[in-house]
């Protein structure tokens, strides 16, 4: 256990030293929040009601999809994997450590937004904080699991970036965080339902806790975890 805990703490430090993680988990979400928060609340005053949720979804989607895959590629598509295997460290450790560390980073950043949004833009605290945090935690887990698939399946960082952006852009554009999804053409509304961000945002903005928007997230999570297991096995086999 002490090896695992040391690994978690070490990965946390490595992420702080890595510019990619700092930029994707903290710098870009904060800049986006500063600029778009001002624009949203000026153009659409009603957006104050859901500003915390929309900024959280943006942060989680960006941090997970853009931030995590390069860390996994660094471990599994390089000679780092050899060093782990040669020294008796199970390859799954890298996946666990990077996910746990990214999870904590994203949770912290979301909490920062939760605290400063009301002060900075008079954003409204979610009416049901419990629902918000359950949705947030679930969305982080789902987004990281999807990002893990990219990180384990793709062989280099150039391709992970391309794939991550291909998932990230529609996730933010179609999930309803930029503008209400009922303003979108029906085909885009349907397409939006392919992305976890849509379900996560819908759940976090619900007035009552219902399983309707949470179940799809769990389904994606289970499928993604199973796929990660298969991909990990493929990476392990020489």
């Amino acid at each position: 256990m002490s090896g695992f805990l040391y690994g978690v703490a070490l990965q946390w430090k490595l992420d702080l030293r890595s510019k990619t993680m700092l930029i994707t988990c903290y710098a870009v979400p904060l800049m986006f929040f500063a600029v778009m928060g001002g624009i949203f609340t000026s153009v659409m005053p009603d957006s104050r009601e859901t500003l915390i949720q929309s900024m959280s979804v943006f942060t989680v989607t960006l941090g997970a999809l853009i931030g995590l895959p390069p860390s996994l590629v660094e471990i599994y598509r390089s000679d780092v994997k050899n060093a782990y295997q040669a020294n008796g460290v199970p390859l799954s450790l890298g996946l666990f450590l990077t996910n746990i560390s990214a999870f904590v980073h994203l949770l912290i950043m979301s909490f920062i937004l939760y605290v400063i949004a009301p002060v900075a833009f008079d954003a409204k605290i979610p009416a049901h904080p419990g629902t918000y945090f359950v949705g947030l935690i679930t969305l982080i887990a789902v987004s990281l699991s999807v990002a893990s698939i990219i990180g384990l399946a793709v062989k280099n960082t150039a391709n992970t970036s391309m794939l991550s952006i291909l998932l990230f852009l529609p996730s933010t554009m179609l999930s309803g965080i930029m503008f209400p999804s009922n303003m979108l053409p029906k085909v885009f509304v349907i397409a939006g339902k392919l992305f976890p961000a849509t379900w996560g945002y819908a759940f976090m903005t619900e007035s009552n806790f219902t399983w309707h928007n949470l179940l799809p997230l769990f389904v994606v999570l289970i499928i993604a975890v199973l796929l990660c297991g298969l991909l990990l096995k493929r990476v392990e086999t020489r």
Partner: protein, 269 residues
């Protein structure tokens, strides 16, 4: 079992290509053993199968003791510091690191240096230290001195001899014949997926034949001869100089380098 390692009938294919065609190896405890072979001979595959990093098709591998593995192609996360890597593998393997080993390898100086800031030699030393963290009985070293400067090579050779003195068995893969000749007690040469030779360096020399290099320095310059029968050949050569009344200043006779013998075996000459 008094042997450190026993390999019997090891076979491995990649698709239809059979890379290892039934390898037998036996390595005694406490020796430095070199596995040699030209590129594509199956050396890395054999090592990886023995190390447990690669699945093999058939055969058996028995290892007597704990293994420490230093791979030629190993890396660490770019931002990890030397001491953090040591602690990670130390804690994961539930062992206490021998600080004198870290000092002897100069890894204590890398404690606060990030992996990306280390030179090739420093990285090699760190990986060797990581391989030795669990105080292994048998140490696998794949091209341990590749990329090291002369000073680094000498200090690493000294450390490998120290490991041998501690009773550890070392299995070395190297392209550096001088290194192998200098360090190793036993060698095996892999050729086309089979062991073409196994024994000591002097046994290899005997196996290849009574091949001698004679170098004679005279007042007229240097002449080199390659002969098989040293006695008759040397007498005949010296007689020739005597008849021509050429003054001989120096004579050197050697049995050829390991490299020459290796090339003969590897080429099937």
């Amino acid at each position: 079992m008094t042997d450190a390692l026993q390999v019997r009938g090891l076979r491995k294919s990649y698709g239809k290509k059979e890379v290892l065609k039934g390898i037998d190896l036996c390595i005694r405890k406490g020796v430095i053993f070199a596995l040699l072979g030209v590129n594509g001979a199956g050396k890395t595959t054999a090592l990886e199968c023995i190390e447990g990093l690669r699945k093999y098709d058939s055969g058996s591998i028995a290892i007597n003791g704990r293994m420490g593995i230093q791979l030629q192609s190993a890396s660490l996360p770019v931002h990890i510091k030397g001491i953090e890597a040591v602690h990670l593998f130390e804690k994961w393997n539930k062992v206490s690191v021998n600080t004198s080993m870290l000092t002897a390898l100069g890894v204590d100086n890398l404690a606060n240096k990030q992996y990306q800031e280390m030179s090739t030699g420093q990285k090699r030393r760190l990986h060797l230290a990581l391989a030795l963290i669990s105080d292994p009985d048998i140490v696998f070293l794949d091209e341990p001195t590749a990329g090291l400067d002369i000073e680094g090579r000498i200090s690493l050779h000294e450390y490998i001899r120290t490991l041998k003195a501690q009773g550890k068995t070392i299995l070395l893969a190297s392209h550096d014949m001088a290194e192998v000749e200098n360090l190793c007690d036993n060698i095996a040469i892999l050729k086309d997926g089979r062991i073409a030779f196994a024994g000591t360096v002097s046994e290899l020399t005997r196996a290849v034949g009574k091949h001698y290099n004679i170098c004679i320095k005279t007042s007229q310059g240097m002449e080199k001869f390659e002969v098989d029968n040293i006695g008759e050949s040397l007498i005949s050569i010296l007689k020739g100089y005597h008849e021509k009344e050429i003054e001989i200043q120096d004579i050197q006779v050697n049995r050829g380098s390991l490299e020459q013998h290796f090339v003969k075996i590897a080429r099937g000459e």
